[in-house]
């Protein structure tokens, strides 16, 4: 009888890259990937961008062409979920009644959308956006004459708002805080982004909450706490995700805002690893533990976990990086700056292409770039190298950041 397989629970960005990496790194044993959705591993960013706009088909988001896992000898079991982990027996129970033994296990269960607990949230035409089916359903509701109410002025809400405007819909964004992307942008940058959306005709309501969604069978309105009802032919709710920790928690693994792992992606059970949105992991460059909901972390921690499962000893530690596309605006962020001392701006805001560097102790603690993807990658490298940099040089567009990195 052959050895049990390495089992990956979750066929998303993290699980997909982990499985592929196991093969790329020369692992020849069995690999089983379990995914609840009916699709091969895919990346989610296009679902609120190109796919929602109809510029690209949904299958363009697949990490690799369909059938790639077959060719790599990876067993992909879609449409089935894991229901329990038995650590003593070293098996995973499945929603179809089956059970799979594992030699090592990777938990890459990601997150699920946070639900808005209001009356009417179950009406037709009320959407969340997480998977391919969601993106297609929203697009189906953005035809001629659509009036879209977006609840939540974070990345998902704003990307959906931008796509809907580009498709001709009337769009209102309702955000409970007094600014957009409250957790991720400085107040000044949030104000800049607010202008972008208002300039494109989005009605942005800050400091507003939706009290109920109204309609007969299908949503027709969103009632604000002030009493006003916004007319709606569709609603998209984007108020964050919740990590899918239940499986790990029930198995007795350590949980703390996610599945707690070390720098080698190991949980409190040495044969069980975790990667992606679901993990709470240490980051020595930032000096704290973090849980990230990001494309890059899902990919790279998935890869790191695969290597660690095969005995690799390189810790996973990267400067976090995020991006968003809204209209013709590309926003990129590095780091998780929270108590920086100074903001240095490179380029002119009025030109629509600039970088803000957030400085702490002579180093870059984080940066945000608008339509300047090149500089942000240098910023990330300067941070990764923990270089001390001269703010005056950063602010001077005639100084190449490449030179600062070499200097």
């Amino acid at each position: 009888m052959s050895d049990p397989a390495i089992v990956v629970i979750g066929a998303g960005q993290a699980g997909g890259w982990a499985a592929r990496t196991l093969r790329d790194e020369g692992f020849e044993g069995g690999i089983v990937v379990i995914g609840e959705e009916p699709y091969p591993p895919y990346e989610r960013p296009p679902l609120s961008k190109e796919v929602l706009l109809g510029k690209e088909p949904a299958d363009s988001s697949y990490l690799w062409p369909e059938g790639s896992f077959d060719e790599l000898g990876i067993e992909l079991r879609t449409g089935v979920g894991a229901t329990a982990i038995d650590r003593a027996a070293r098996t995973v129970a499945l929603s179809d009644g089956g059970s799979i033994p594992y030699r090592k296990l990777l938990i890459a269960t990601g997150g699920r959308v946070r639900r808005l607990p209001v009356e009417g949230a179950e009406l037709d035409g009320v959407h969340y956006l997480r998977g391919i089916d969601d993106s297609e359903a929203i697009r189906g509701d953005l035809g001629e004459g659509a009036k879209l109410v977006v609840i939540g002025g974070g990345w998902i809400g704003l990307e959906v708002a931008a796509a809907a405007r580009m498709l001709g819909a009337e769009v209102t964004v309702v955000e409970a805080l007094d600014r957009l992307c409250g957790r991720a942008l400085t107040p000044e940058l949030a104000a800049w982004l607010l202008d972008v959306h208002r300039g494109r005709g989005v009605d942005v309501r800050l400091g507003a909450t939706v009290e109920a969604l109204t309609g007969e069978g299908r949503v027709s309105g969103a009632r604000l706490s002030g009493g006003e009802t916004l007319a709606a032919t569709a609603v998209v709710i984007g108020i964050g995700i919740v990590p899918n920790v239940e499986l790990a928690e029930a198995a007795g693994l350590e949980i703390d805002n996610g599945v707690r792992v070390d720098a080698h992606c190991r949980t409190s059970d040495p044969d069980i690893f975790a990667a992606g949105d679901v993990t709470n992991h240490p980051n020595d460059l930032l000096g704290r533990n973090i849980r990230l909901e990001s494309w890059e972390n899902a990919q790279n921690q998935g890869i790191a976990a695969a290597r660690a499962m095969l005995g690799g000893e390189t810790p996973y530690c990267e400067i976090p990086w995020f991006w968003s596309d809204q209209y013709d605006v590309n926003i990129q962020l590095v780091g998780l700056p929270n108590d920086f001392e100074e903001t240095v701006t490179r380029g002119e805001r009025a030109d629509g292409s600039f970088v803000e560097f957030y400085m702490k102790g002579g180093r870059i603690d984080g940066a945000a770039a608008i339509n300047n993807p090149r500089d942000i990658r240098f910023a990330k490298r300067l941070m990764q190298a923990q270089k001390t940099v001269d703010p005056a040089a950063l602010a001077d567009p005639s100084v190449k950041l490449q030179a600062l990195l070499r200097g």
Binding site: L63, W295, E296, Q299, W321, P373, R374, R377, R381, Q402
Partner: protein, 106 residues
């Protein structure tokens, strides 16, 4: 059948060592690189998502995509790091005086 035709696309002084620029040949977007005085050309658009590699970061002999960080070997076009898995097409480069010429199928 079509033969390779060489097109003058830039001057050698247009890009310093370790830099890349985008040029257009016909309808093709091509990136030209200067690696220590030697010039190379690849398709400019990343094989993962729509991004100009010429806006990316040259490190050693690889180019890192400015959008999602995938790296390619500049000399061979080979996809090196995730998320890219599909190689870039590479083009022959000739230098004539201070003209950079790129060979593209006519």
């Amino acid at each position: 059948m079509s033969d390779i035709e060489f097109h003058a696309v830039a001057k050698t002084g247009d890009l310093d060592d370790g830099e890349a620029i985008q040029v257009i040949v016909g309808k093709k977007e091509i990136a030209i690189y200067n690696l220590e005085g030697a010039y190379y050309a690849t398709d400019d658009i990343c094989t993962h998502a729509y991004a100009s590699l010429a806006d990316g970061y040259v490190e050693g002999e690889s180019i890192e995509c400015p959008l999602h960080g995938g790296c390619f070997d500049i000399k061979t076009g080979k996809a090196l790091t995730p998320p890219v898995t599909e190689d870039l097409k590479v083009y022959e480069v000739k230098i004539d005086g201070d003209d950079i010429l790129v060979g593209v199928q006519g």
